[in-house]
């Protein structure tokens, strides 16, 4: 089986259509299961009470915001370096969902901050760097929308995405590098998680749901982008430009 043929938008379009239900349906199921475990199974936190349940949407949204930015930058970089149209289209398709998850993480963080810190917002290192991430997404989308030629738009977007990716480790390590109001990481790769297993289960299920949702939505958007760009290309060719 030649996987390289799927680097072509023409060949990937029908494959993406077949893949969407395999991500969308499990995403919906996992959202339901994750919310059930988060609200009915996970116990009330001894310190924060039930306010901590915001975590089950806040943390997955924040992780998705960072992860999707890294993926967007990789796809944009590959598209730029190898003139791979599908990669550039994928980067464009990821940006909106990444921006949405980053916005959700900021707003739900504010909802969590008010009862626990006593304020909706502080110019804390974690929150400020996450706000910068949102601005990077908006900048990427605005830059691409402002340039008519898709190939030039892809190149300009790739530069911004690659430069902005430095912000992701800054967000991740901000709670270690600076004294911040934001709590440190509760899940570490090498160490044991510091939260109860039922809470962790709910959070990981919600993370999986957000991840599957993102793949499904990005594939739908990618299919639309393929149709729009191929038809625009056809119009450019017909106009002799």
């Amino acid at each position: 089986m030649n996987l390289y043929k799927y680097a072509s938008p023409v060949n990937f379009y029908p494959l993406a259509g077949k893949m969407i239900p395999w991500f969308a349906i499990p995403a919906a199921l996992l959202f339901v299961i994750g919310l059930y475990v988060g609200f009915f199974v996970a116990p009330t936190d001894a310190q924060q009470g039930d306010a901590y349940r915001i975590m089950f949407i806040h943390v997955p949204a924040a992780w998705m915001g960072m992860l999707l930015y890294v993926l967007m930058a990789i796809y944009a970089g590959v598209g730029w370096a190898f003139n791979a149209r599908l990669s550039s289209m994928m980067a464009s398709s990821i940006a909106t969902t990444g921006a949405m998850f980053t916005f959700i993480s900021l707003v739900t963080g504010s909802f969590w901050g008010k009862p626990t810190w006593g304020t909706w917002w502080v110019w804390d290192a974690r929150m400020t760097s996450t706000l910068i991430l949102l601005f990077l997404y908006i900048g990427f989308l605005s830059l691409q929308a402002s340039i008519d030629d898709p190939r030039r738009a892809d190149r300009a977007g790739a530069v911004l995405a690659l430069v902005g990716v430095i912000n992701v480790p800054i967000i991740y390590f901000s709670v270690q590098w600076w004294n911040t109001l934001h709590q440190g990481a509760t899940i570490r790769i090498l160490n044991k998680p510091t939260i109860a297993p039922k809470m962790l289960a709910a959070m990981l299920i919600m993370l999986a749901a957000c991840w599957l949702y993102s793949v499904a939505v990005v594939l739908v958007r990618l299919r639309c982008t393929i149709v729009e760009r191929e038809q625009n290309a056809a119009r450019f060719a017909e106009a002799g430009t």
Partner: protein, 60 residues
């Protein structure tokens, strides 16, 4: 489950309401875009983009 969330109901339900609203808006805007894309796809080859269309990209 305590629906008042121990007095934090506004914050907990508010955050989930906002997240649902954001996801709902994304799905709504995407469904509109998908509908308009579907109308643009040639009815003869609905469901797939032909090589002929793609080849224009190289010329453009």
């Amino acid at each position: 489950m305590d629906w008042s969330m121990g007095g934090y109901g506004f914050y907990v339900w508010g955050s989930y309401f906002f997240a649902a609203l954001a996801i709902g808006l994304e799905l709504f805007s995407l469904s509109r875009r998908k509908r308009s894309c579907a109308q643009n796809v040639n009815k003869d080859d609905r469901g797939k983009i032909t090589e002929a269309k793609s080849s224009y990209v190289a010329q453009a």
